[in-house]
Symmetry: D3
Subunit: 326 residues, 6 copies
């Protein structure tokens, strides 16, 4: 991919109208209230990994509808809490993966909760959490159009709620400092992190790399890349349901969460990314309400900043947890 | 695709071992008994199509778990019953489509029930039937690996049961001659038809074009084409679940239905078909228990015989319904 | 394909200059006069199809140069004429196909003449009509550049004339109401229908889906898709003949027919169609002289409206034949 | 392409049955007699090329049906005749090209007649010779299936006859030594050269590089590469005409010419060539009747020996023309 | 990729002839003697990573020709040595990457030296080590054909020597137990590890995942995948140098190292791997002289066992370092 | 590729800013002075080609760092000098090729020196000249990023210097008229020719077809085609070195040579060329200081004008050598 869409100076000014349904806030308030009717709890089982510097636990917490959602809790061995903590969400098609996949944050002194993504986890990283949704109507293969004809049945209603409940759950753990919980993720994981930041006012920070699920309708018009293409393909077949589809998606578009989120945010964007085109990322960034920074990777596609972004992210996180500690 | 796998003379002799679990018959007997605990019924609503030679009704019948399954019932206008009837199943990724899509059998004097495929119907032909399954674990996008870790939760348990119940339901309709019900389909539709023929002893005939879901494990080893590749991809990620996957699939492999089916069957096969490789089709054909014929299309891929096969199929069906009429 | 070329609001205003040679009208008047020097006639032979609701005849009529052109005549069995009639033309690379392929219009009460496309009919639907042209010079594989160095020898001179003669011929048939003949087709078929509508003033209506052969030079500049690409490829090799090529094509560009056609027209266009890019379709639609409507399919490629467009087309046709009947 | 089909030692022994119709010889005798009813002649017009070491003439000679076929005659400037001469044929899709394209043989002291290929010449090298055939039925784009339903109308009947008449014509030229005429070509050009060698007993030698049109039916079964694929695609659509197609092709298969040709031959073959798979080339080579050599290029595809084969070809030709001069 | 080459039971018996030049041992003895004329040393510079559980140092050691080769030394923070140590080599096209990329082995209690691969490191993981070779002749892009016309100038002579010198160097470090040094790597890294195991008799173990550079000539004949294809492409252009190329490669083929190596080895192989086809891996495994195990991943391509292989590798390593400690 | 970037009328006006480092002239003056410290000389060895109209010699001359660079000297046999002479440079990935590849210019009465391109010559045409550069750091496969972190070590510093030295060397040959030396090439060859024209004020003319290495940074932003993509890929991995890369490239961008060159120039450009996009070519052409012409090929990709451009080039060259002769 050569440069996608507009140049950097136009991206920096790109501030499209958001499409927000009138009952957006009510929809989410009700959804979360319902989910929170069950108490937050984090069940943990130790995993024998053969590792000596970190401990890893197999965890379960109640997500949407109280359904059990899996995850890993990774901590520096012997660290004395309460620790600053990262709740991380996974990219599209993957699940929580295997214990050894998640060494970075714990090696840097953080606790990390890796949330499994319900129903995903068979394309690259394995997953273990079923998606107990209502029987959804016909869907294009993948997760993007499951239950898409109604906001109440849409797949991401369950996932974003899981994301919020992961924060709720981890905060109950003795090793975790509830005031210093960051949310983080790349691609879909970044999209979930932004949604959670818009729904949980007191997270300490957000790290969203090349986030997915931002400015969705435009994405379906300008890119042929999956997974946005799943939506376009659904509309290609169900030619009579296009407006229904985009009405549903307006409850889930990251721009509407960004416009509400107040925690400090670090975005990253890649200018040759056709999976999450840079104008969709900038649309979100430019609407983001809280303090914010963005790292730009001009010659990258959806891999974004990769390992070069790790020190940036560690420094950003460190500045927040130090600050918050006071 | 040039010629796939072996040459025609070897195909004609290809008779691989089947892998059949000891409780195969019990599994299906129990599954069907459970489904049949609800009475068969076909609810119909007329559709205003603007057509003058045929009538089309939007139908619903109880499938697996009694869940409502949609379909179209298409009949020659003014024909006096009871009519010979074709229950047809749809290819992978499609649903029952739109009413005008199904004119052939009715134009030839048959009633036709087109069964929707639950949860599919967003890739090419639209569908309207949700898949109300148990929350399935992580699955590769598509239907092939939904609930694949257990025969009880596997997607095709529900679909094959729907297929059987479609025959049960259509037989209750006054315009239908229950003694002259054929099952038919191409690709996945052919796979469902063969399963139904193995489960419903008294169907009058089977038309299975380039049938899918035959000799599945071998297919995953020799072709890179979807949808068999979904299974391979699941095994690629879930490296530790390969034997579990194929144990489940042994309850659904068409070879085990073919070895039980006794109705006269017309198969078709294409020698350059890498979606449903010819040796998987011949493996099924060669195991097929009842009277059988096969049409071979040497230079075709998965499109098979196309319109050239239509007169063959009409003649085969005509010979059966005449015979059965006695 | 994501959205091709401009957005919908710009498409609606897109009204490019046409390139029309001074002797355009004379060229076609002369061409048709010559073709009409032989009398119109429709020879018919019944086909045994096994169908009960419709009758199908194998027909032949004199086309360009009086050469025999094949077709199918499909009618509702037992209908009493004279019937409203659709003359339909086939998409690129296909021929008239097989009898069972054409059940829709007859099932809706129309007679339908399906015209074979000379020399085509080996890529998807079979054909049976040779192209008896003058020996044409070197051509890029396909039909688009046959005889392209001179309007007199260009392939579509023969095809468009066949299209006109099909209308002439069908009107001689006793079952056909000559005042209620519609022309219809998709892609190349739509391009032929528009040409015929520009050449035969009294057709009762035009249905042109994602029509090909409109605004040709622009198409060769903006799309890499075949068959427009055949012209680009010819110009790529014959670098010294570009202006000759486009001079010839100016006698065949649909914009020049649209600007003359007066029958009510129903267009359809797909916004992700790179085979017949939407601006080429809108260029034609915006130049169309008669009453007109257009159906827009935003997320579709060259498949356009598919089955969703069928009820629209049936309703449009019904309104015309009722009107005309008056 | 990795190694195609069998290994080298098996290729050297590969000697499949030929399929030769009973009237093969009569068919060709009659075809050539008819073509030779017009006298051979080579009309020449000088071309101003700006070149100083060679002269190039634009030539025309009567081919099949006496139709004018174009070519270039290239000679070393000032050479005193009669010269040894190469008649060369062009690869698929190209025509005679431009004058400056043909400097090799003349620079080595030979006269060269480059024969244009009728109807081709728009894909890479330009051509100028129309194909004045009978109106052929539907054909797959390209030349391979033009008129394929009857040997009498098949395209290569005209082309091979042109090839023979090119030899006849060049032998009438004063600068040419008729006893030292070689035929040469690569791919389709090699196929034509082999056909001519089988039809004109007294050519002095044959150079056939990666020759096309050898063992055709097998090629359609083992490769997906064009142009053999054109035949497969025709059979894919016209499923009922497969045996008719291969009956026609049996009059044109290079194996039947190779089994008759007696002039010394130099073949070349590439082991990773999927356009002209090595077993089709070896099938021809192993059937070749006259003295023969073959150059093997193990890691090449259809480009074959390229410039590395030029010295081999020059040496082979030199040995023949010296010998023949005696 | 479906199953590549032969089935598993044939792979287990596959024991092809090796091609070993007579002076293979002398060539390597001389090469290493020359390299070892400079003393082994490991220069280290601490890196500020922000990590708390491990320390990472930027290291340099003398490789082939005494040239400085870069690496990372990663250790569990505060661990008391001497530690069991893994020297790891990188896959094709990558360099040593960034410090945070290498947390696994240190988190499990090992020291790890990650060796940079000279001249590589711009395709995925960054590198920092120039390849100071003699000016090599023309090469196909990539590393595989640099200096390939002579074993003395071939690229992998330098790389394998670097690999040996990495072991020499790390053994001089105070934190390292020289008796417990394992070599490890995937793909090219596995190939280097096997070469080092064949050249350094006293390494404690080898972990070679889907190793590259095994049975090279066969690989070039059966796969089109890079990087083996670089060799095939070189031979495609340099048609006259094929035997020279493979003579050079016989000094570097992993089969000749495997046949000498005595340390316990853990291989892994993927049956759908076309980059390093399974028969090339099994050829090496079956020739391997020391104690050995192999993990088979049937549905994987070149990604091999991925995270599922990590516990296997950790357990294998643990068993060795415990044993050796004894 | 459809039309790339802007339309022709915009291309004709496209005059972007150049990025020229302050010491550009000094850098090159120093580089050439150093190279010219060794005397220019052309060593020649006759080649036995079997050709009669031309003679070919295998030549060697001192290039960058005095390193031996290979070439072919081709001349009309028996021509009496001093001859007008073309120094030609080769496209990317190729070397000087084989002697018989270079017949055109000699056949037109010119001497021609074909310069080998160091280190290239394994992708299509063979080469024989090693690239004796300093050990360069990690590079993306290919030549574009070798030594790219410093202008002093960058690959094209050596190549452009070789190009200048080729002119110096050929002028010492007795058969060559030093006042009538043209430089020529296509793609990379055109880029070298333009660089040489900017560095050697008294060349008699320049022929640059679809030249590469013009307006490089923009090219990396707008095209995904290689070899520009090598630079983009390097920046994709080495995210922290982007400005370093483009600083180096500013010493080698053709725009800075074009702005200095005064010899008459013939450019050619293809409007569908995504390898060397037309705006990069026009950017160079519009900055070119001397008299200039450009041939535009609207429907061509990187093959450009091909054989149709040969007469244009011969006529352009002829006009110059006649003029210069006076």
């Amino acid at each position: 991919m050569a440069f996608v869409s507009m140049g950097l100076s136009d991206l920096e000014k790109y501030h499209p109208e958001r499409t927000e349904p009138a009952d957006f806030a009510a929809f989410w308030a009700e959804t979360l209230a319902e989910a929170r009717s069950a108490p937050a709890v984090l069940e943990t089982t130790p995993v024998d990994t053969g590792l000596t510097t970190v401990t890893i636990e197999d965890v379960t917490f109640p997500g949407f509808g109280g359904q059990p959602v899996k995850g890993w809790l990774v901590r520096p061995r012997g660290a004395e809490g309460p620790l600053p903590t990262v709740v991380s969400y996974v990219g599209y098609g993957g699940g929580r993966g295997l214990p050894h996949d998640h060494l970075l944050w714990a090696s840097a002194g953080y606790a990390q909760l890796v949330m499994d993504t319900r129903g995903q986890g068979a394309e690259w990283a394995v997953g273990d959490t079923p998606d107990e949704g209502p029987g959804s109507g016909p869907a294009y293969p993948g997760s993007m159009t499951r239950g898409i004809l109604d906001p109440a049945t849409y797949y991401y209603r369950r996932v974003f709620t899981d994301g919020v409940r992961a924060v709720d759950a981890v905060r109950t753990h003795e090793a975790v400092d509830p005031a210093r919980v960051l949310v983080a993720g790349g691609s879909q994981g970044g999209g979930i992190a932004l949604a959670v930041a818009g729904l949980v006012p007191d997270v300490a920070g957000v790290l969203a790399d090349v986030p997915f699920l931002q400015h969705i309708r435009r994405a379906t018009e300008i890119t042929d890349a999956y997974p946005y293409k799943e939506v376009a393909n659904f509309c290609k077949t169900h030619r009579d349901k296009i407006e229904t589809v985009f009405r549903t998606l307006s409850y889930f578009d990251g721009l509407n969460f960004a416009a509400r989120a107040t925690a400090p945010a670090l975005y990253s964007v890649a200018l040759m990314d056709d999976t999450c085109p840079p104008d969709t990322v900038y649309a979100s960034y430019n609407h983001y309400l809280g303090p914010k920074e963005i790292s730009v990777y001009p010659y990258n596609g959806h891999e974004g900043g990769g390992g070069h972004h790790v020190p940036v992210a560690l420094a950003f996180a460190a500045s927040l947890v130090r600050t918050r500690l006071g």
